[in-house]
């Protein structure tokens, strides 16, 4: 037994990032202690969760020591200085492997940092390691990782969502207080929903994409994965803002997300329920929690309005043309010529460059990646471009118009984040269409570039967490935090404790340290 005056590792890892940042700032905890506690937790539970592809204990502790020294020297790098973080394996980290969950990048160590990584380092956040994901972020279950699936901490037989299942599971399993995810069609928000955590996809251009291995350039966006709305806002503020290395980056300061998260005031706010994604056809428990959340927000002074977004139903089809098209081009660079896996064709004595490219891509890409490359190559081909890619871009315009019209009537839009709670591992692996339908509610935000957030809003009839999605106009990310914080507070009041307290204890590896 530890003496009561010394916080046990278990206590540290259950504390939120804002709280830990404050404790490190006032000297009651050191970053080294906090970082070590999380490394210990990873050692204890990650065999069963498999949220991490790579853990950098040495690098994280070195960064923690640097953060402690900076604090001792009176430097204040950020409110989260010293708080460790997990980073999705699609974000380039100099000197640390970055595979995007693919065999084709096995062993690749980037010679440069993504802008997100640079900002985390500058803000003093030790990087614990890289989290598991569907290969090249293609998937909604993390089962398409070349390195094996991540398991949902709520039920290890279930998926943690995807593509960023590793980041959300790490946060849900208390292996990290914070994580970076990326969201192309829901890869931050859907995993947040099914793991009972918070996830934000910022406005397109709000967070630099420099150093994010591109899936679909016009849809990708990095964002925070956390256990509270305030933690997400604090992290959002650190990684957000203009970057000259990303032409699509918005040249404006990050909106006041932290202030909004602290305020959480929805009085007089018009909250729009989207007719087309109001829960019809969704799991009953998901719908029930959604309706209850609306009532909680109404009780806090919000006005609930109904809005129509007729083009949203075409979103999924447009998305599955635009994404594969861009991905087929973005993934062309993985050709064995300069880095990553190289496989020679069998039975060829003196292979040509083309033969090596083909053999490597055949061996290095998983089936889902190949499926989407083929789809995208087809959709961009001469004679098909107008019918597929061209039409999809028109749908995209229509969806943006629907959003514009809806935001005339409502300050934010809300939907259930995902149609169901976490499904069983393997359940939808052979049914791509069923898998794709997971993203029906999250995709419109990516197509239109507007920000979205998922916060946990209860447990469904199966005892698994559900998510509540908030969508705001482009560059008004602060409204997500305003509404998210209000609902979070109302739910906390109702339950008396965070929802993650209801998650079952994880099996802890029996080791002597």
């Amino acid at each position: 037994m530890s003496p009561a005056s010394v916080p046990s590792s278990n206590d540290i890892v259950r504390r939120g990032a804002a709280d830990l940042g404050a404790a490190i700032a006032d000297g009651s905890l050191s970053s080294v202690e906090v970082t070590q506690a999380h490394l210990d937790r990873i050692a204890d539970v990650d065999d069963s969760v498999h949220a991490f592809l790579h853990v950098d204990a040495e690098g994280a502790l070195a960064a923690a020591r640097a953060a402690d020294e900076a604090r001792a020297a009176g430097e204040t790098r950020s409110p989260l200085a010293g708080v460790p973080i997990a980073v999705k394996d699609i974000v380039a980290t100099k000197g640390q492997p970055t595979t995007a969950g693919s065999r084709i990048l096995q062993g690749w160590i980037p010679p440069y940092d993504a802008t997100v990584t640079t900002r985390l380092r500058a803000a003093g956040l030790p990087i614990l390691g890289k989290t598991n994901m569907d290969e090249f972020a293609m998937g909604s279950s993390t089962e398409h990782s070349a390195y094996g699936p991540t398991h949902n901490p709520w039920d290890l037989d279930r998926i943690p969502g995807g593509s960023g299942g590793g980041s959300s599971a790490a946060v849900a399993a208390f292996e990290a207080p914070l994580a970076i995810g990326t969201d192309t069609g829901g890869s931050i928000r859907q995993p947040a929903a099914v793991t009972g955590t918070v996830g934000t996809k910022p406005t397109y251009g709000g967070v630099s994409r420099y150093g994010l291995i591109a899936l679909a350039s016009s849809l990708d966006q990095a964002g925070p994965c956390t256990r509270s709305v305030l933690d997400a806002a604090l992290l959002h503020e650190i990684i957000g803002g203009h970057d000259v290395m990303d032409s699509t980056s918005i040249d404006a300061p990050v909106p006041g997300v932290v202030e909004a998260a602290r305020r959480g005031d929805v009085a007089g706010l018009r909250i729009g329920v989207v007719d087309e994604i109001s829960g019809e056809g969704f799991q009953p428990g998901v719908r029930a929690r959604f309706e209850e959340s609306l009532k909680l927000l109404e009780a806090r002074g919000a006005e609930i309005v109904r809005v129509g977004c007729p083009s949203f139903v075409k979103g999924l089809a447009a998305y599955y043309l635009i994404l594969p098209s861009e991905a087929s081009s973005n993934l062309a660079k993985f050709d064995a010529m300069r880095y990553g896996l190289r496989v020679g064709p069998q039975g060829v004595a003196s292979p040509s460059a083309e033969q090596v490219m083909a053999a490597t891509r055949d061996a290095g890409f998983g089936d889902e990646v190949k499926r989407r490359i083929i789809l995208g190559t087809y959709a961009l081909s001469a004679g098909y471009y107008d019918a597929y890619y061209g039409q999809a871009q028109k749908v995209r315009t229509l969806i943006a118009r629907d959003f514009a019209a809806a935001f005339e009537q409502a300050d934010v839009l809300v939907t259930p984040t995902a149609p169901t709670t976490a499904f069983k591992l393997g359940e939808k692996l052979d049914d791509p269409m069923a898998m794709y339908l997971n993203d029906v509610a999250t995709i419109p935000a990516n197509l239109a570039g507007v920000p979205g957030m998922s916060i946990p809003n209860g447990l469904a009839e199966d005892g698994l967490p559900t998510g509540f999605q908030i969508l705001a106009p482009a560059t008004r990310d602060d409204r997500l935090y305003e509404v998210g914080a209000a609902l979070e507070a109302a739910l906390l009041e109702q339950w008396g404790a965070p929802i993650l307290d209801q998650a079952p204890a994880l099996p802890v590896r029996e080791v002597t340290r």
């Binding site: 970055t98 291995i213 032409s247 660079k333 993985f334 010529m337 961009l380 081909s381 001469a382």
Partner: protein, 505 residues
């Protein structure tokens, strides 16, 4: 070695067919940094030393447009009398090749920055007694990035076939390029090769005047792909074309097009069809050989580059750039001809020799226009022709020629001695004065020996002297020749003429 293609005599080919050309010129801009990253662009650096995550296409890296390259593109477009797009995008041209780091080239497709222009080029007229203007219409000028450079090692040809292995230098990957594409050039007839050469020469001069490129064809900073097709005379429907790649000197452009016209004619005469394909030009043997088949169905799966925002130059900006354009080439030619007092024929020789800029600089350095023209279009053009080089590649600068003509004008050297001095300059022995000093070349400075020689020659050639006395001054030439011979060349011929005329008239 492949079997040589049949060709027909050029004049026979032209008698039966009308050639149509399409010229695609790639210009490497001289911006300090690459098209989409901050890497240096200097030529000849250690391989793979001017690279970064962006131009190496590393996972996660993103392009950012070089504003200086956009500025150059707009200025080129304006100088080519093009319209400038108020809004245009980059596009991805997707194809796999090891020298392409991303396996797509970031280029422009259906939205070029500049379009619908022309360039008037001056060519010798049909009568051969002057020049005329031929208008080459410009379809578009667009921005793109260069690829890396492959080096195929082993094998005899330096080509990929037969090579043991290949190396790639990515220093060139991402260097800004402007591709300038003409509309089909028709109606040039037998002068098609000359028009092509004159067009590229005029384009080169224009780019140089704009100061947007080094325009070093031998270093690949200007590269020309020449499309050629033939139509039977009197027909209007375009024939099948071939595209001869990377023709890298003005002389080669003329030769390659001439060759292709002869080759096409032979194929068509035989009743066979031209295959649409790329052709490689061989400078040494003066022929083209078959490259890869090319069809209009090549599918590059173009789509708008999602990593870049559209380029939208304001009209104020474009108008401001218009004020920075140099004098249009034709106006400039007219002005220089007037300033220099050249006849049309003399000016034509200057243009043919590609010596306009050199003469301009030589005159600026102090030579008379007449002397500058005489040297560049005479002696230096002859030397360049003999060596298969261009006159700006002889190692002789305008300053050298200005100095040399100063030495002649001051009477220190005569023309024959000046040519010997030039040998020394070409051989790298120093400036003209240094060479003259080192070789001990100088005319006798007192007239004593010269006068004695004049008297001796007049006495020995009384019948000629009599003609001069009768007013036939041209006859003095023979006497001058005698005097120069007597003096073993170490005399100023002009002075000798003065002395002879002083005695006889």
């Amino acid at each position: 070695m492949s079997v040589l293609d049949a060709v027909v005599d050029y004049d026979d080919a032209i008698a039966r067919y009308d050639p149509v050309m399409g010229l695609e010129v790639h210009v490497e801009l001289n911006t300090a940094t690459k098209m989409f990253c901050g890497c240096a662009t200097g030529f000849g650096a250690e391989p793979n030393s001017q690279v970064c995550p962006v131009c190496l296409g590393l996972p996660g890296a993103l392009p950012v447009v070089n504003a200086a390259a956009v500025e150059s593109a707009i200025r080129i477009g304006l100088a080519l009398n093009c319209s400038i797009a108020p809004w245009c995008r980059f596009a991805r041209k997707n194809y796999f090749y090891p020298d392409m780091t991303k396996n797509f080239q970031t280029s422009q497709y259906d939205e070029p920055i500049a379009f619908d222009g022309y360039l008037d080029v001056e060519i010798p007229n049909a009568a051969g007694d002057g020049t005329e203007i031929f208008r080459v219409e410009i379809e578009r000028a667009h921005m793109e990035e260069d690829s890396g450079k492959s080096l195929h090692v082993g094998g005899s040809t330096g080509r990929i076939q037969g090579a043991e292995y290949s190396l790639v230098d990515y220093n060139r990957a991402g260097v800004p390029l402007i591709e300038i594409v003409t509309r089909p050039v028709r109606g040039a007839g037998e002068r098609a090769p000359e028009v092509a050469k004159a067009y590229v020469a005029a384009l080169r001069d224009l780019l140089k005047a704009l100061d947007v490129s080094d325009v070093r064809m031998e270093q690949g900073s200007v590269r020309c792909d020449a499309n050629v097709s033939l139509m039977p005379r009197g027909e209007q429907e375009l024939g099948t074309r071939t595209e001869t790649k990377n023709v890298n000197s003005l002389r080669s452009i003329e030769r390659a097009i001439r060759y292709e016209i002869s080759r096409h004619a032979a194929v068509l005469d035989s009743g066979a069809a031209i295959h649409q394909e790329t052709r490689h030009w061989h400078e040494d043997t003066g022929v083209t050989t078959s490259g890869r088949p090319k069809s209009d169905a090549d599918d590059y799966r173009y789509f708008p580059e999602p990593d870049l925002v559209p380029v939208a130059p304001s009209s104020d900006y474009v108008e401001q750039l218009r004020t920075t354009l140099p004098e249009p080439p034709d106006q400039r030619r007219k002005r220089l001809q007037k300033d220099w007092g050249y006849t049309d024929l003399e000016m034509r020789d200057v243009l043919n020799a590609g010596a306009t800029e050199l003469i301009e600089q030589t005159v600026a350095d102090g030579a008379s226009p007449a002397a500058a023209r005489k040297w560049w279009t005479g002696e230096l053009a002859r030397r360049a022709n003999a060596d298969g080089r261009t006159i700006d590649d002889l190692g002789v600068t305008p300053a050298h020629i200005a100095e040399l003509s100063g030495l002649v004008a001051s009477g220190r050297l005569n023309d024959a001695m000046a040519r010997q001095v030039l040998d020394g300059v070409v051989a790298g022995e120093g400036t003209p004065t240094e060479v003259a000093d080192a070789r001990g070349l100088a005319l006798a400075q007192d007239d004593g020996a010269l006068e004695a020689a004049v008297d001796k020659v007049i006495a020995a050639n009384e019948p000629i002297a009599a003609k001069v006395r009768e007013g036939k001054l041209n006859a003095a030439g023979a006497l001058i020749g005698g005097v120069m011979k007597e003096m073993r060349g170490q005399a100023d011929a002009a002075r000798a003429r003065e002395l002879i005329l002083a005695r006889l008239t």
